[in-house]
Symmetry: C2
Amino acid sequence: MYEGALADLVDELGRLPGIGPKSAQRIAFHVLNSDMSDVERLAQALHAVKEKVRFCEVCGNVATEDRCRICRDPRRVDDLICVVEEPKDVIAIEKTGEFRGRYHVLGGAINPLDGVGPEDLRIRELMQRLAAGATKELIIATDPNTEGEATATYLALMIMPMGLTVTRLASGLPVGGDLEYADEVTLGRAFEGRRPVA
Amino acid sequence: MYEGALADLVDELGRLPGIGPKSAQRIAFHVLNSDMSDVERLAQALHAVKEKVRFCEVCGNVATEDRCRICRDPRRVDDLICVVEEPKDVIAIEKTGEFRGRYHVLGGAINPLDGVGPEDLRIRELMQRLAAGATKELIIATDPNTEGEATATYLALMIMPMGLTVTRLASGLPVGGDLEYADEVTLGRAFEGRRPVA
């Protein structure tokens, strides 16, 4: 429907996750009407991410140096490691302000349908960190879905024999939610995990 | 929360229309995990749109030459002009396959709250086209909202004295919709515009 450059941009934008044809069109027209300097900044930012961002050699989180900001931070506790699937999970947990340990980013979850097995995740690196001996507790914070649960079970089976405490984030009712709108599985988990009133 | 280049990209993406902080983050990680060649293509497409796309000197639609594809097409009818707000409206109408005339793109609608007056739209250019004399009917296809209606009324008042037929797209029930879910104004318009059963 469009000619040349505009059609190309709509195409390229449409390949990004969560951008449908209508959004791609809307963004393309926004770009067309933007200042050249704004477009230049966006193009530069795209390049810079590919050129400058790397992955922390310790935990696998995104980093600008060999080690990420969290692995470099001397104020964090060394005997507590939280295992997550993706760097964005680190951000989500950091926002809670509840965790002062270190992270380990797996780079995904076990998913046989997509051909992702344990050897495709940073599990060997995790075992090496744990073998070094400083860790007392490993918190498994993979997503509460089928792949995340499978990954958690796999990790627990591998790590439990090493004699350290392995925990999993609690499942239950979301705070601020309505009990009647909770799905059965979540409500079941909330019953299972019920705690004495303090 | 992010460092350096990744934070910059999340920022820049968040400035695009319809992209919230979560989508910006998701796209930034997608870019980080993409091949350099894909990212390069997107950056090139952004540049190309600013460098190569211009506006048709006749109708104001997007074009790659002095005149757009539709204004260059000899098979289109010259005595029928459809007035729209934006180039994307041209695409929407072209998709129907119902219109074989020419277009005139205003570049927006009259919106006093945003400081957009008639002089900011391509109305002078429209009057010059009409003064040339080939046009028999002008179809006003501005959006069916307050600004679009105001623009339509303004254009109708300007153009009616020139003695050509001025029409407005029909308002009514959307095809495939449910009568009970139609808002009152739309349902009222559908009554007003009712037609004898053929």
